[in-house]
Symmetry: C2
Subunit: 339 residues, 2 copies
Amino acid sequence: MAITIRDVAALAGVSPSTVSRTCKNNPSISEETKERVRAAMATLGYEPNFQASNLASQNSRTIGLILPVSERFIYANSFFLEMIQGINSYCNVHQYTTTLITGQTEEEALQVIRSMVRTGQTDSFILLYSKQKDPITDYLYNEGLLFAMIGKAYQFANQTIYVDTDNILAGQEATEYLYQLGHRRIGYIGYEKTLLFSSDRKYGYQLAHFEHGLPLQEDYSIEIKDSMKKMPPELSDLLKRPDRPTAFVVTDDFLGVALERTCRECGLTVPEDLSIISFNNSLFAQMTSPPLTSIDINSMQLGAEAATQIIHHMENPNLASTKIIVPHEIVVRESCRPI
Amino acid sequence: MAITIRDVAALAGVSPSTVSRTCKNNPSISEETKERVRAAMATLGYEPNFQASNLASQNSRTIGLILPVSERFIYANSFFLEMIQGINSYCNVHQYTTTLITGQTEEEALQVIRSMVRTGQTDSFILLYSKQKDPITDYLYNEGLLFAMIGKAYQFANQTIYVDTDNILAGQEATEYLYQLGHRRIGYIGYEKTLLFSSDRKYGYQLAHFEHGLPLQEDYSIEIKDSMKKMPPELSDLLKRPDRPTAFVVTDDFLGVALERTCRECGLTVPEDLSIISFNNSLFAQMTSPPLTSIDINSMQLGAEAATQIIHHMENPNLASTKIIVPHEIVVRESCRPI
DNA sequence: ATATTTAATGCAAACGATTGCATGACACAC
DNA sequence: GTGTGTCATGCAATCGTTTGCATTAAATAT
C-alpha cells in the first residue's frame, strides 16, 4: 500500500491535520514544523491520494474536454490535439487532470457528460469547439455548469468564459493580404454558418470588401456542408468562368488542400492562376503542393488559455466570465502571388 | 448536494450496504429487494459517487492514454484521435474514464505518469504507440504496471498486452499489390527503425522481394528521421536516376503526400511516372491529388481492442497477456497504375 | 420440538484525505 | 497572580462508498 498522510504524520511527529495543512501551505502552521513535515514527505515520497483528497474537499480537479462529434472536425484538423497539448501543459503544472469526452453521436456524448456530472467525476469542462444549436452546449448552460468554450459564445456571451481567435479580424486580414497583392476578384470558401469561426471569417472577408469599396459577389462564396464528401460542383463551375476569382480566402487548410485539388482538376495552377490563403497553419498547409499561406491561430495557446481560465474560475468562484482573444499571425508560403 | 446512497437506502427502506450490493448485482440480495432498490434509484436518479466508490474499493476506473511526445506522430496522423474514439466508445459503456497524458518532453510526460500512479489517480495505461528505447515504456515495465500497447512489443512480448496491425503482412501485401501491377523496381520510404510499425512494414516489403526473387536495392530505401522537416535530398537524387523505382511503398500517408510533392518538384507525375501506396488511410490520403491508395489499419478498432483488453485484465487479474491483431485492408484510389 | 443449516440483510469499520472547533502553551497587560 | 489574547496544533467528524462479519429469520433435518 502506498504512503498515507498518517505515515508522514508519524515520521514528522505531528498529526495528520498538520500534514494536510502543510500541503495546502496553511499560514497557521509555523514555518519550522512545515519544514519538518516537508522533510518527512520528501523522505517517504508522499503524494496525497487523489480520490480521497477530492472526496473530502468535494471537488474533482478533473476537467472534461469535449470534442465535437462531427467526423470532419475531429479528424481533419490536428489542432484538436494541439489544443489538448496546450490544456494539458497548464493542467500538469497545476495538478489538474483532463478527461476526454467523445462520442459517435451527440446523444452518447451528452450521456457521458451527464453521468460524469452526477457521479462527481468532473465539475468543469472545456468545450473544444463552438457551434450554434448544439445540445451539449445547451446542456452546459442550462445546468449552470462551469465551462470554457474555445470559440465564440453565440448566446449569453457575458456569462460565458471563452477563448477565441479574432476571426473577423483574421478574415479581414487574410482578404487584405490578397487585396494588397492586387487581387480584386476574391472568393470565399467556408462551412455552414452555425460554425461561428467560419462565419466570422467570412464576415471579415466581407468587411475588407466594404472597406475598399469592392463589390461583393454572392456567387463567389461557397458553403461546404458537413455532409459533403467533396467539393461541390458549383466550385468547379465558378473556376471555369472567365470572371472567376483570382484568389480565395479559405476557412481552413483542409479546404485549402481540397481547393488546390479542384484547381488541378480544372486545369488551373496555384499560385499562377489562383492564389489561396487559408487558416490554421496545420501540417496540411505545409505538406501540400504548393504549400499554403495560412493564418496560424496558435492552437496550443488557445488551449492553455482555456485551461488557465477554467482553473482560475474553479479556485475563485463568482469571478466574472472572461473573454480572451489569442493573437494570430499569417505564415507566408507559396500559394499566393501578386496578380 | 447530490443524491447519496443513504437517500436511496432510506427511500427503499433498506441499509446503504444493500443498495451498494444491488448496484454490484451481488447474488446474496434477493431479487425482490433488488427491484425495490432499483426503483428507488430510478426515482431519485441516483448514480454512485465516483471518487468515494473508487476510494473504498481501491481502484480508479481511469485509464491513462499516453500519447507519443514526438510532434510528427502526434500531429501528422489523425489516427490518434480515431484510436481515442475507439477506446472511449468501449470505456463509455463500461463506466471507465480515460485521461490523456501528453507532454512536451518525455520527462514531463513521465513525471505526470509517476504522479498519477502515486496519487492513485490511474492504475492502468494504454500506450498509443510503440517505440524502442522509450523511457516511458521502460518505466511501465519496471514498475510492473498494467498497460496495453498499441503497436508491437519490442521486449517481454509474452508479458505484454498489445494490439497491433500485422505490419509485416501489410507491408508484404502493399508490395505484392505493386508487383501484380507489373512493377519490379519498388522503393520504400519509412521512419527510423526504432519505430517498429515502420520497420515491420519494411520487412514485409523485403519479404515480398524475396518471394519473387527480386533483388533488393539498398538505395531504394529512404529513411526519414524524426528531426527532418522535409524529404531528404537522396530522395530527389533517386527520383532523377534513369533506373529510379517505378513505385514506392510508403509507411504512412503523411510521407505519401510528401512524396507526391517531391515528385512534382522533380517533374514526375503520379501515377503515370510513379505509383504510390501508403498506410493509414487518413484524410491526407483522400485529400491529396491524386488521392492515395492506402492501407486502412482500422484505428478505431485498434483503440477499442486495447480498451477491451485492459479492462478485461483489470477485472480479472492474473490473466495471461493477450496479443491481438486487428485486420487491415487496402483502399484503392488513384495513385497506382500498371506499368 | 429442537438443532442445524441457509439465505438475506444490517452494522460498523475501513478507504485517505479535509476542516471546524477545541485545546494548550505562551506572552503580555494589569 | 489572574485575565485576555494570540498562535500553533490536535481531535474527531465528515466526504460517500465498500465489505467482512454478525445477526436474524426462515427452512430443513433429526
